[in-house]
Symmetry: D2
Subunit: 199 residues, 4 copies
């Protein structure tokens, strides 16, 4: 945990759409994972068996770049756009998992890979928790665990749909009243101001 | 177009999983978009109507960070992992579209927003084209435009499925022979070496 | 050259402290160098002689990160602070030169190193030109010591001294009247508004 | 403090040219400062008095980018190049100080600026300490000119001069025997392997 993430979140002048404690945990995990991956890539470069670590180095570099960008995006709350945060978190989960799997292969040989794999797993878990919290229907990438087919959006992937019937019905009723079946209009979110608006 | 992207791609010592020309176009679009967004955020900061541009600035900053990370990931071919590239490209499409929409709102008033919106649209298109090329089934985010429900993977989103019946059948037959309906096993890909392997 | 750098510079709503054409050239060189270094690091990872390229990969990664940060800083003009730009450009010159030297060692063997070395040299030159333009006395880090000429440092550009007697005297007289021998108070700069001020 | 920086440093397979504890402190300060600046820029964007915070936002963005790049460079030890680290640390000191000064102006009004200013000051101090440790003569940019003591420059740390007569003489003698008055040839460093070499 950095000593600034939570204090900075607490001083943000407007409402934040996500639980601040959970958000801080995710940001700090992302920062730590990015640092671990940067250092692991470099440590791999100095190992005698470097040729066997080429894929590990590459995955480390990707994971560092993606975690770093994700930490920045999650540190911004002005003009919050759930779609950007969600898709980026999904990419981050994927990068962390790939990097963890790769590092775990070398964890017995290289202590830096073992520590890095753990940082990736922690980050993967923190990102998934945040994703789960983002979709009020109760499923992280809620849209995809679909019970019925959904048309593609112009971005190529459907928006949030309810995975579980009861939740879906609440969502659907809300959607019908609001005109669009959007994540942010689901019941659990209703109690708070859910979209950033300029003062 | 930078004068280095394509030459560097041409000198990569192993095979690259994607069409080099299309990949270079995507990388250059990402680089240009990141630059435009960084500059647009700053230009907005110096406008008299800055308060109305707060969301625009934020979206610019997100888009710059995401495009920048995506350009780096796409510039690496060693140990290629289609899952990372694909999910990150999806996040990038989302960020570019959000930023384009926001900038377009101010395009009449601010020339920098107009140019930035165009750079975002170009980048969105280039990323979508690359996504389409990545999924041999013919659909970019192929997995999500599903004709039948798919169970979630542990990452929270299903893998690539065929969107169009004919393509799907080819895919399905391959999937059944290979045991897993993965992108990389589809017909069009078969002819090339599809996963990076250390020499 | 990206197709956005110069157009974005031209639409910045306030004055910019540097020549826009020269600034655009530097930003585009930084962007190209960052891309070349990212790609070269990855190409090195896939070479059979990877162990001999470990230092090259590391220097590539540093150079990419530093060029990328410098391009962003130079793309911002609001609240311009010459001290930040100057010291960062100096670091960038150093990183580009180190990376060029390292890549040049492998340029005969690896075409990607040859192209990358060239991108680094171009970037080094563009940064030095911008540094020279930043000090109105005619030499880079002008503000720091205006009293006697100085030889080049190991960074390859002279520390701030007045190179030409007449210019130096003007600078010195200005410095004495203003209390601080700052870049921005030199004669050639006087004719323009030299510090960013909010409207 | 992240929970990974020091553990990763401890597992680096070769020698590291700097004190690991001091290096970890600098990296963690850089990471925290980058996070604070990213969050502060965004918090400023949501303040009603945003127009007065334009320069603060810009300086925040610069500081975040520079600290982030510096943390990455310092996290790499393979093929260590003191010249890159040193000039980048100098740029970072400058960025942190500028940002701290700007944030301090708003610290009474905005708690996020107060916390960010503190993170910048902490980072500035950590970078200066590391710079001081890099020059075995006892003063930062040691290599550049070892002949007479110098006062602080406007960057807040003295240019490379020998501060203590005895150390300076040792440095000078070494410089003369080696042909170049470089950091790495000073007496205190001699006892360790001072340049990274491939195994």
């Amino acid at each position: 945990m950095t000593n600034v993430t939570m204090p900075m979140l607490e001083t943000y002048p407007l409402e934040i759409n996500l639980d601040r404690r959970q958000l801080a945990a995710a940001i700090d995990s992302l920062i730590a994972c990015s640092e671990a991956c940067t250092a692991c890539a470099d440590a791999c470069l100095s190992e005698p068996m470097i040729a066997e670590l080429a894929k590990c180095i590459r995955t480390n570099l990707d994971c560092a770049d993606i975690c770093s960008a994700t930490a920045r995006v999650l540190s911004r709350h002005t003009g919050y756009d759930a779609n950007i945060s969600r898709t980026l978190l999904e990419a981050c989960v994927m990068a962390c998992r790939s990097c963890a799997e790769e590092c775990e292969r070398h964890a017995d040989m290289h202590e830096h890979c073992r520590i890095c794999a753990q940082a990736c797993r922690d980050c993967e878990a923190a990102c998934k928790q945040l994703l789960a919290a983002m979709c009020p229907c109760g499923t992280p990438a809620g849209p995809r665990a679909v019970l019925k087919p959904a048309g593609p959006t112009d971005a190529g992937f459907p928006r949030c749909r309810a995975a579980v019937a009861t939740t879906r019905q609440r969502c659907a009723s809300q959607a019908s009243s609001s005109g669009a079946p959007e994540i942010r209009r689901c019941a659990r979110r209703r109690t708070r101001r859910t979209r950033w608006r300029p003062r």
